[in-house]
C-alpha cells in the first residue's frame, strides 16, 4: 500500500463504538465499526456472522422495479399503495430484520388497510409462544445466566453456530458476579437429536430421538428440585422487537388480523403459513424478510399468484418474483432505530453509514400516507361472538 494512501485513510477513519449488531437475538452491543469514506472497513468484537453482516451489507442489493422493469422509488411507492388500498384481505409479513419504528409503521399500515399482520416468530416460534400463553414460562434476562447460572442446558439449539457469542457473553465462559471463574463455575449440558458444534462446549451430551422432546419434558419436572429458568433462543434480527411492539399496540404477539378494524388473534387462521396455505389473502407486503425463500412450496405458490410487494435491502427469493420491489437502507447499519435482544431487552441500533436508499420506516411512512388518501381500512363491524365481561 502506498504511503500516501495509508495516511489519507488514517485521517478519515471514524470508529463507531458501542454498535449494536442487527444479525441475531444475542444482540451484542459492543461492536466497533471502522468507517472510511462512508464505507465499512472493519468490524471489531463481532462474531463471524455479525462481521459478515456489516462487511457484506452492500452485496446482493435489490433495485427498485415494478413488474420486473426498473422504476424510481417514488413510482414503486405509488404502485405499492395502489395494490394495498385495493386489497380486501392483504397480508403484511416479515419485519424481523428491521427496527422498531419501521415495525410501528407496518402495524399502523395494517390497521389502515385492514390487513393480516404476522412476522417470522410465527413460522419459528409459534408453538413455544402458544405454550407460554397456555402454561406460562419461568425465564430471566441473559445477565442472570451470566451472573448466577451454574447449570446450563442447551436443548435442541445450537448456539455455537446460530448464536456464536451467546456462550462467551452470557452462558458458558462468561464471568459474572457469582460465577467469577466462568466455565469452571458451570456445568453445561447439551440435549439434541444429533451432536453439533455446541456439543463440543458441553460437559455432557444427551441424545434424544427426534420429536420426542414432549415425552422427555413430561418426565422431567425441573422446578421440583431447584430453581430453573427457561429461555427460547430467539433467532433472527429484531424478531423479538416485532413481537413486543405488536403486543403493546394490538395485545397479541403474532398472527394478528385487522380486517374488522380492531385486532384479532388466531394462530392457524391469521398466521402467515395458514393464510397462504388456505389461499385467503389477495395481496401481500413483505418487509425485511424472505417469505418465498423460506416457505414450504405450497405457500410460496400462493404468494406468487397475488400482487406482491417486497421491501428489502437485498435481492431474495421474494424480490425475484415480487410485483413491486423497493430497496431500503439496512436497519442497524445504514438506518438507526431500536432492536430487542432475545430476552426482551431493548437496545439502540446506530446508523454507521449512509445509504442511497430510504429506510424501511420512511418507505412505510410514505406508503401509509399514500394509502391513507386512497382509503380507510376496517369496516368497524362488531366482533363475531365477542362476549361481555365473563
Amino acid at each position: 500500500m502506498a504511503e500516501g494512501v495509508a495516511v489519507k485513510e488514517a485521517k478519515e477513519l471514524t470508529v463507531v463504538k458501542g454498535v449494536t449488531c442487527p444479525f441475531c437475538g444475542v444482540t451484542c452491543d459492543d461492536l466497533e465499526v471502522h468507517v472510511v469514506d462512508g464505507k465499512i472497513k472493519d468490524v471489531k468484537n463481532a462474531c463471524v456472522l455479525g462481521k459478515d453482516t456489516f462487511m457484506h451489507h452492500l452485496e446482493g442489493w435489490a433495485t427498485p422495479r415494478i413488474k420486473g422493469k426498473p422504476a424510481t422509488i417514488d413510482e414503486c411507492i405509488e404502485a405499492a399503495a395502489e395494490i394495498l388500498a385495493k386489497a380486501k384481505y392483504p397480508l403484511i409479513y416479515g419485519l424481523d430484520s428491521t427496527e422498531l419504528n419501521a415495525q410501528r409503521k407496518a402495524i399502523e399500515l395494517a390497521e389502515l388497510i385492514g390487513a393480516n399482520i404476522d412476522h417470522t416468530s410465527s413460522v419459528c416460534h409459534a408453538p413455544s409462544l402458544q405454550a407460554v400463553q397456555t402454561v406460562g414460562i419461568s425465564s430471566c434476562t441473559v445477565g442472570e445466566v451470566k451472573n448466577r447460572a451454574d447449570l446450563i442446558i442447551f436443548w435442541g439449539c445450537n448456539p455455537a453456530e446460530a448464536h456464536p457469542r451467546h456462550p462467551s457473553r452470557y452462558s458458558v465462559t462468561a464471568k459474572g458476579l457469582f460465577t467469577p471463574k466462568g466455565k469452571k463455575d458451570r456445568m453445561v449440558i447439551n440435549v439434541d437429536v444429533r451432536p453439533t458444534p455446541t456439543t463440543r462446549m458441553a460437559d455432557a451430551f444427551i441424545q434424544v430421538k427426534p420429536n420426542s422432546d414432549y415425552e422427555v419434558f413430561s418426565a422431567l419436572e425441573l422446578n421440583r428440585f431447584t430453581k430453573f429458568q427457561c429461555a427460547p433462543m430467539r433467532g433472527h434480527g429484531n424478531v423479538v422487537g416485532m413481537a413486543q411492539v405488536l403486543t403493546w399496540q394490538t395485545g397479541y404477539p403474532f398472527a394478528v388480523n385487522m380486517s374488522r378494524g380492531y385486532p384479532r388473534f388466531n394462530p392457524g387462521e391469521y398466521s402467515v403459513a395458514d393464510l397462504l396455505a388456505h389461499r385467503e389473502v389477495d395481496a401481500a407486503l413483505i418487509v425485511a424478510g424472505d417469505a418465498i425463500g423460506n416457505f414450504p412450496a405450497k405457500m410460496a405458490e400462493h404468494l406468487q399468484s397475488i400482487p406482491l410487494i417486497a421491501i428489502d435491502p437485498k435481492e431474495s427469493g421474494t424480490t425475484k418474483v415480487a410485483t413491486v420491489v423497493i430497496p431500503t437502507a439496512q436497519a442497524g447499519i445504514a438506518a438507526g432505530g431500536m432492536a430487542y435482544r432475545m430476552d426482551h431487552i431493548p437496545l439502540v441500533m446506530k446508523k454507521v453509514v449512509d445509504s442511497p436508499y430510504p429506510s424501511d420506516r420512511e418507505v412505510l411512512e410514505r406508503i401509509l400516507a399514500k394509502v391513507s388518501s386512497m382509503k380507510n381500512g376496517g369496516n368497524g363491524a362488531p366482533s363475531p361472538a365477542s362476549k361481555g365481561r365473563g
Binding site: G136, S138, G176, Q244, T250, G251, R260, G380, S386
Partner: protein, 546 residues
C-alpha cells in the same frame, strides 16, 4: 396555539384551592388555567355539571416489559373491550391488560389525564418509554425499581451511602424516571435462589444486608435528593396472612421519612394462616391516622378478572401454586424480577371477599383523604376501568350494604366494614382521585384548577348513581383541548412524559463503568436514554434536599 376557552356555570370541585362545589368560571389559555382571558375562542356551558381537575393515578401498571409480557401471554383477556379504529383513533383491545392506545383512551374516557406507571426494571425502562409514547392523551411518569438492585445492595454492604445517593441520582437522570420504587426489598434478590425474606431483619444472601437497611437507605437517599415524591413502597410479605405486622413494623422503621405505602390493602391481613385470614385494616389505618408522613393508595380489589403483575417474584410463585393458573416469571439481571399470574376475585370466596372489604375499610377508616389515593393497583386488584364502581361504594352506604349481602358472609364477622357509616363527599372523591395524588407526587400543576395549572379538566353530569357519573364524563380537556365530548372521544393527542431531574450530586466513580459491564450484559454507554428519544416530555426539577 393561542387557543382559549372558558367553562361557565359549572359546580367546581377544586379542593386544593378550597373550592367545594361553588359555581365558578374557569378560563383556559394555551393549555393552562388563567385568571381570565378576553374573548375566549370557545365556551363550554357547564350549567348543572360538575367540574373537576383531570384524574391522577398514583399507582398503576400500564406499560413495561412486565405489562407487555402479561398482554402477550393473556390473549383470552383481549376478547373483551375491543376498540375499532376511527379517523384519528387507533384500534386496540382491553381488558385487564389493555393495549397501549386502548389504555390512553380508557383512562381518558374515565376522566383521568395523568398516570404513574409503578414498576420498571432499569434495563427495561427504554421499553417502557416506547410503550408510553404509544399511550395517547395521558401525561405519564414512571417509578424505577431499586429495592433489590445489586449495586445498591453492594454499596450498602460496604456502608457507602454517598455512593448509593450518586447511583440513585444517576439512575433517575439516565432513565428519565419520576421516583424510587421498592418492591419486597431484599426478597426479590432472594427469589433468584427460589427463596424470600421472612421479615425486616432477614439477611439477603451474599450482600448481608436486611430489608430494614434497604428501606432506610433509600428513604434517606430520596430525601437527600429532594425528589418530589416519597419512596414508593410495595412492602415485604405482600398478600400473606398476618403481614400487617410487617406493614406496621415497616412504617415504624421509616418514621421521620416521607413514605408512600402502595396498595396497602394487600398488606393489611391478619390470621395465622389462610384458614384464619382476617382484616387488620383498623390497626393499619390507626397507624396511618397518627403518622402524617405517610401517604398511601389502597389497591382495592374488584370482583372478576384480574392480572397480577409484580416484581415480587416469590409472591407470584405462591399465587401460582394457590391458583393453579398459568405463571410467567422473568428474573432481571442486577435489578429485580417479575411475576405474572391471572387471577379471578370471587364474591363468594372468603379470602377475596375479605380482601375487598379490607380495601373499603381502609378508605373509610383513614381520616385524612389527602393521604389516600384511589387505586386498584391495576390490574392486580382489578382493572382501572372499575374505579367508578369503587367510587360508588365509597359514596353510597346503601350500595355497600347491598354488596355485603352478596359477598361471602365472613366479611360480616371478620371485618369492620358492616359498621362503617362514612360516605365520601364529592369533594373527598376529588381529593382521592386527583388533588391528593397530585400533591403526594409533588406535581404542582396537576390535580387542581388554580392559575398556572395544566388545563386538564373533567366535567361530569351530576347523577345520584355515582358509578354512572364517574364512568361517563361529558367533557374531558387535556392541555386545554377537548378530547372527549358527550362521552365520545373526539380526537387524540400525545401526552407528555413527566420526569424528574435530580440535583447534581457528583459523577459516578471511574471504576463504575467496569463494574457495570462486569455485572450487566450491555455497554455502559448504551444504558442511558437520550431525552431526544422521548418526543413529548416535561422535566420536573427536584426540590431542595431535606
Amino acid at each position: 396555539m393561542g387557543s382559549s376557552l372558558k367553562i361557565v356555570g359549572g359546580e367546581v370541585y377544586d379542593p386544593a384551592n378550597g373550592i367545594n362545589g361553588a359555581v365558578k368560571e374557569i378560563y383556559v389559555q394555551d393549555g393552562k388555567i388563567v385568571e381570565a382571558c378576553r374573548e375566549p375562542s370557545g365556551v363550554i356551558d357547564a350549567t348543572n355539571l360538575v367540574v373537576m381537575p383531570g384524574g391522577v393515578d398514583i399507582h398503576t401498571h400500564i406499560a413495561s416489559s412486565a405489562v407487555n409480557a402479561a398482554r402477550g401471554f393473556r390473549p383470552e383477556d383481549h376478547r373483551h373491550g375491543l376498540i375499532a379504529k376511527k379517523p384519528g383513533i387507533r384500534s386496540g383491545v382491553g381488558f385487564t391488560v389493555p393495549s397501549t392506545f386502548a389504555t390512553g383512551y380508557l383512562y381518558t374516557k374515565m376522566g383521568y389525564t395523568t398516570v404513574m406507571e409503578a414498576a420498571n426494571a432499569p434495563i427495561g425502562v427504554r421499553h417502557t418509554h416506547e410503550e408510553l409514547i404509544d399511550t395517547p392523551i395521558l401525561d405519564k411518569g414512571l417509578y424505577i425499581l431499586m429495592g433489590n438492585n445489586e449495586f445498591i445492595l453492594k454499596y450498602l454492604k460496604a456502608g457507602e451511602m454517598e455512593k448509593v445517593k450518586r447511583y440513585v441520582a444517576w439512575l433517575i437522570r439516565s432513565l428519565k424516571g419520576y421516583g424510587i420504587k421498592l418492591v419486597n426489598p431484599g426478597g426479590v434478590e432472594q427469589w433468584k435462589y427460589g427463596k424470600d425474606v421472612e421479615g425486616l431483619d432477614d439477611k439477603v444472601y451474599y450482600f448481608d444486608v436486611t430489608p430494614r437497611q434497604i428501606l432506610k437507605a433509600l428513604a434517606w437517599t430520596n430525601e437527600s435528593l429532594g425528589l418530589p415524591h416519597p419512596i414508593h413502597l410495595h412492602a415485604n410479605r405482600l398478600g400473606i396472612p398476618n403481614n400487617y405486622l410487617t406493614t406496621l413494623e415497616t412504617m415504624h422503621a421509616l418514621e421521620g421519612f416521607r413514605l408512600h405505602m402502595a396498595h396497602i390493602q394487600f398488606h393489611s391481613y391478619g390470621g395465622e394462616n389462610w384458614g384464619g385470614f382476617c382484616s387488620k385494616a383498623a390497626e393499619v389505618a390507626e397507624y396511618i391516622n397518627t403518622h402524617p408522613h405517610i401517604t398511601t393508595d389502597i389497591g382495592q380489589v374488584v370482583f372478576g378478572d384480574a392480572t397480577t403483575i409484580t416484581a415480587d417474584g416469590p409472591w407470584q410463585y405462591r399465587l401460582y401454586k394457590l391458583s393453579k393458573n398459568k405463571w410467567y416469571n422473568q428474573d432481571v439481571e442486577v435489578e429485580t424480577g417479575c411475576g405474572i399470574v391471572p387471577y379471578v376475585y370471587r364474591e363468594k370466596n372468603y379470602v377475596n371477599a375479605i380482601q375487598w372489604a379490607i380495601g373499603l375499610e381502609l378508605f373509610l377508616l383513614i381520616q385524612d383523604p389527602w393521604r389516600v389515593s384511589l387505586s386498584t393497583d391495576h390490574p392486580n386488584g382489578g382493572a382501572f376501568i372499575f374505579y367508578p364502581w369503587v367510587i360508588k361504594l365509597l359514596m353510597d352506604k346503601e350500595f355497600r350494604s347491598e354488596m355485603l349481602k352478596r359477598v361471602h358472609k365472613r366479611v360480616l364477622s371478620d371485618t369492620t366494614l358492616p359498621n362503617l357509616d362514612r360516605e365520601y363527599t364529592l369533594s373527598e372523591i376529588a381529593i382521592i382521585t386527583r388533588a391528593g395524588p397530585a400533591r403526594a407526587l409533588g406535581l404542582t400543576r396537576k390535580g387542581h384548577l388554580g392559575v398556572g395549572a395544566d388545563a386538564d379538566i373533567t366535567i361530569y353530569l351530576k347523577d345520584s348513581d355515582r358509578e354512572q357519573m364517574f364512568e361517563h364524563p361529558i367533557y374531558v380537556l387535556k392541555d386545554g383541548v377537548v378530547v372527549l365530548r358527550e362521552g365520545e372521544l373526539v380526537g387524540s393527542r400525545d401526552g407528555k412524559l413527566l420526569f424528574v431531574v435530580p440535583p447534581d450530586v457528583g459523577e459516578m466513580d471511574p471504576e463504575f463503568k467496569t463494574e457495570f459491564e462486569n455485572f450487566y450484559t450491555i455497554e455502559y454507554e448504551n444504558f442511558p436514554i437520550d431525552a431526544e428519544d422521548i418526543p413529548n416530555r416535561e422535566a420536573i426539577p427536584a426540590g431542595a434536599s431535606r
